[in-house]
């Protein structure tokens, strides 16, 4: 099943720096009481391309530990995941890896 098409982005004026290409950004999904477990698994599979098993593992980590790091990516890719996950209602943030 195809995902939702990405809207056309306005051309950004800033250029990618070396650090923005580093896979140094973590995408974190946080627990919330409303999203269904099955829906979280579904979204992880759709957006992140996880297998059923991997999606289940991350969903359970979110549920039991309050959050899960679902990806380590470049700034641009992390932002894309952040937006796609947030658009589907998952509480998501990105942060610089230590």
């Amino acid at each position: 099943m195809p995902g939702v098409a990405e809207p056309k982005k306005k051309k950004r004026t800033r250029h990618l720096t070396h650090s923005e290409n580093d896979p140094g950004w973590r995408v974190i999904v946080w627990n919330d009481p409303v999203n269904l477990m099955s829906y979280v698994v579904h979204v992880f599979r759709q957006v992140l391309g996880f297998s059923e098993t991997k999606a289940q593992q991350h969903m359970l980590e979110v549920h039991h530990q309050g959050k899960s790091c679902v990806a380590r990516e470049s700034r641009e890719k992390a932002e894309l995941y952040w937006q796609q996950l947030q658009l589907r209602g998952l509480k998501t943030t990105i942060e610089r890896s230590n």
Binding site: V4, K10, P33, E79, Q86, L87, R88, T93, E95
Partner: protein, 169 residues
């Protein structure tokens, strides 16, 4: 509500009461998707256009505004899609509804139902305690009604997710 797979997607059957709820839910979504984030209640705005993590991610004001513009653009497309579904659902409202959801639209349908759940929960202050409470423990009719809608949307989402799973029979 019943749903089964068919060649082009998923065939839904709603009785008149379910159909009426579906129409009411999606009409509200279409209305609220057209509202600028700044004009939504703080709770719904936080559910749909959260600024959480923006500062930590180092987003500038300009980046954040662009981010919100893109989220609104998606929801504008969803509103357009929902409006076309509503047109079909509103003919002969007193009858059961037989409706085919195209396979390529199932992700949008799920997102819309989830958005509704998130918005109602946020606006009514519904958390884990309220979601798991027994009916008798919820004295307020408005709150009870919102929780019921949230659970009905959840049941529909579960059906669709199960059918979406390629390993499902």
């Amino acid at each position: 509500v019943q749903v089964t797979r068919c060649d082009s997607g998923y065939e839904w059957v709603f009785d008149p009461a379910e159909r009426s709820l579906l129409i009411s839910v999606f009409e509200r979504l279409v209305r609220e998707y057209q509202v600028a984030p700044k004009d939504l209640s703080a709770e719904v705005r936080d559910a749909w256009y959260s600024s959480r993590g923006s500062r930590e991610a180092g987003q500038s004001t300009e980046d954040f505004e662009e981010w919100i513009r893109q989220l609104r653009q998606f929801r504008g497309e969803y509103a357009h899609k929902a409006a076309s579904w509503l047109q079909a659902w509103k003919a002969d409202e007193q009858e059961p509804l037989f409706w085919v959801l195209d396979r390529e639209d199932s992700d949008i349908f799920l997102t819309l139902m989830n958005d509704y759940r998130l918005a109602r929960a946020a606006e009514m202050g519904i958390g884990e305690r309220e979601m798991e409470a027994s009916w008798e423990a919820i004295p307020d009719d408005k709150l009870r009604s919102a929780i019921a809608e949230i659970h009905i949307m959840a049941a529909m989402m579960e059906c669709l997710i199960r059918l979406n799973d390629p390993s499902a029979g």
